[in-house]
Symmetry: C2
Subunit: 376 residues, 2 copies
């Protein structure tokens, strides 16, 4: 993996860059649609590529490990071959889902024992096997195994957890560095800064993470319920420590406003289920604000979902039709709304990139932030 | 509406023709994907047009009347404007859904009182208002209001019901012929032959229906649970009476084999929820037989869903991936399987049409029927 910085903003810490992987390049800042079980829900791969124009998608190690399982993924030749997505893929370490979805049995130094949310079967994730699993999945960017602390989190718990996450990281790196990719293309490992909302812990963690000198770094444990101001404060502290010349990935963030604010703090990569999950519930993000498609006010609004969009479904379907589909729980409603939100998120980060390059980012961001959180 | 017969088979009663409507032509025999609530479930309109290559889709009067409702549909300028489908649409009369979905209050000479399956609200469908409703929906081909008798059905009930259906038809025609289309393009009304599985009732009904001298005719009340041989016997009797130079539409039929057998008996138009509904449950129809995608045998089959298909999703996704999506209840699984089944149904009737024109229909049908019902 290579990262090249192309431009940085004078009035903030925002940067524009380009990551190169064996599956193609990723222009940053970037938003990565979440493809939990090997599919970005309700979207065809050709739509992701041609209509949404996603550079990279995310897969969830926890889900893929449980289903279709490593045996199938390895026989397929990795996730790219399995799902037909030819551009880069990033996988998380499975940690977050173990804590949020499964019945956690025990977090120990060795690793985490948990029961599958699908069939109750018992499993163990360790720093080592999570590297092996991600080798088999075949993601271009793989994530270290960490503990994502909840919010709020007791200081002492956060401190102890952090130390364990750092010890796990050492084990992750040892395993990763002594194993080979399985399918003939490179993989790279990103470590994850933790530390809850405690400045000293975040600072310490960022220093430890930076010292591992990997090709990119991530910030985890945010967007778990803390106020946005706390999130920004943590991102700022961490970005000031993480190396300037390497990509920074803020995990699980967030609203369009969160994304712009964090770009301004020096973050390059984002992922979040919000555009896809909220789409299925009828919430659309647009550059002028948020639309709740279940609202009566769209009932007889036959104007296109977004008139000047370059997305076919924004132009071809009306707000009234989309409202009808969402209210009627029709699958096509989820398809149209998901296309819209992902297209919008990708548009937003690409627009931010252009504004960083042209030197207009700061003013543009201030204007956009007022618009983006309006309720239409 | 115009209908032009192009060819007929020497060894069966199969015919190839072309229906012309103000929204374009329909080559027959044709299969019409069912778009219940104004959407063919899990399929974009552009996919219906470019990938599935559907000539015409069906809308359900009962569903559309309840939601989005006539007020919205009229303000939109009809269903074509509302859902963005620019080719022909056929609507059923709502009768079948009233009997199968709603809590039927009472079938009387005047019409049918029923409660909505959505909110329990009370409604009345009559021969007259069902014409008015279909005028507002704006379908190119609209259907007469009838009683679709269940199977089995007592002879006396079937006979009395039939007479009422005929009296309703007179009222439908009177209303239809004294009202105008609302959106500047023509609409035509097809009457429906009933009579359960009783030869004399079917014969009588076909004669009555033919005497109304409409531009096309339909056969209803079949594919409601009767053995296939009874269905074919009824179709044969009815097709021999219905005018040769007008299109014949067999409602709600059926499996690929049912469709080929009924084409051989002189049917020109079909609709059925089977390809779409069964797709969502993981059943694929192919020219070599039926695949249950939930089956363990596809788990590690990384070959394309259908290698030599001209449908993008058949070539780009593997059986193993589709199985994973269906097992995981992912929306994309429903999308891929629905595209496949509709593409196959349309391929099947287009292929039948070519074989009728080239004179090879009969032999081709015999060969296909053996293949189509195999379990793969």
């Amino acid at each position: 993996m290579r990262f090249r910085l192309e431009a940085s903003d004078k009035f903030s810490k925002a940067r524009a860059g380009e990551i190169t992987t064996d599956h193609g390049t990723i222009q940053t800042p970037i938003f990565m649609p979440v493809g939990t079980a090997g599919t970005v829900k309700a979207v065809h791969q050709r739509e992701l590529e041609d209509d949404i124009k996603a550079d990279i998608i995310l897969g969830n190690t926890y889900h893929l490990y449980l289903r279709p399982g490593l045996n199938t993924l390895e026989k397929a030749g990795g996730l790219h071959k399995f799902n037909g997505w030819t551009r880069p893929i990033l996988t998380d370490s499975g940690g977050y889902q173990v804590y949020s979805l499964s019945e956690v049995r025990k977090i120990k130094e060795e690793g985490v024992t948990f029961r599958s949310h699908i069939d109750g079967s018992k499993h163990l994730f360790t720093a080592e096997n999570v590297m092996d699993i991600q080798r088999v999945i075949g993601a271009d960017i793989i994530m270290a195994f960490d503990e994502c602390t909840p919010y709020p989190c007791d200081y002492n718990y956060a401190r102890k957890s952090l130390d364990m996450t750092h010890r796990w990281l050492k084990r992750c790196c040892d395993r990763f560095d002594t194993t080979e990719p399985k399918y003939g293309y490179s993989q790279t490992l990103f470590p994850i800064v933790q530390g809850s909302v405690y400045k000293d812990l975040r600072q310490k963690s960022a220093e430890v993470i930076a010292s591992f000198n990997r090709e990119g770094n991530a910030i985890g444990g945010l967007s778990v319920g803390e106020p946005a101001e706390e999130m920004y404060a943590m991102t700022e502290i961490v970005c000031d420590i993480l190396p300037y010349e390497k990509p920074r990935y803020l995990m699980g963030v967030g609203t369009p406003v969160n994304i712009l604010e964090n770009i301004a703090l020096g973050v390059d990569m984002f992922d979040c289920v919000m555009p896809t999950r909220n789409a299925r519930n009828g919430m659309l993000f647009t550059k002028n604000g948020i639309l709740n498609m279940r609202n009566e006010k769209w009932k007889d609004d036959f104007s296109p979902i977004e008139e000047d969009s370059d997305l076919f479904s924004d132009r071809n379907y009306s707000k009234a039709y989309l409202r009808h589909l969402i209210i009627s729980k029709e699958i096509l409603g989820a398809q149209i709304a998901t296309l819209h939100n992902l297209h919008f998120y990708i548009w937003l980060v690409k627009e931010a990139r252009e504004k960083i390059i042209s030197g207009e980012f700061y003013d543009w961001k201030s204007k956009m932030i007022k618009q983006l959180s309006q309720r239409l």
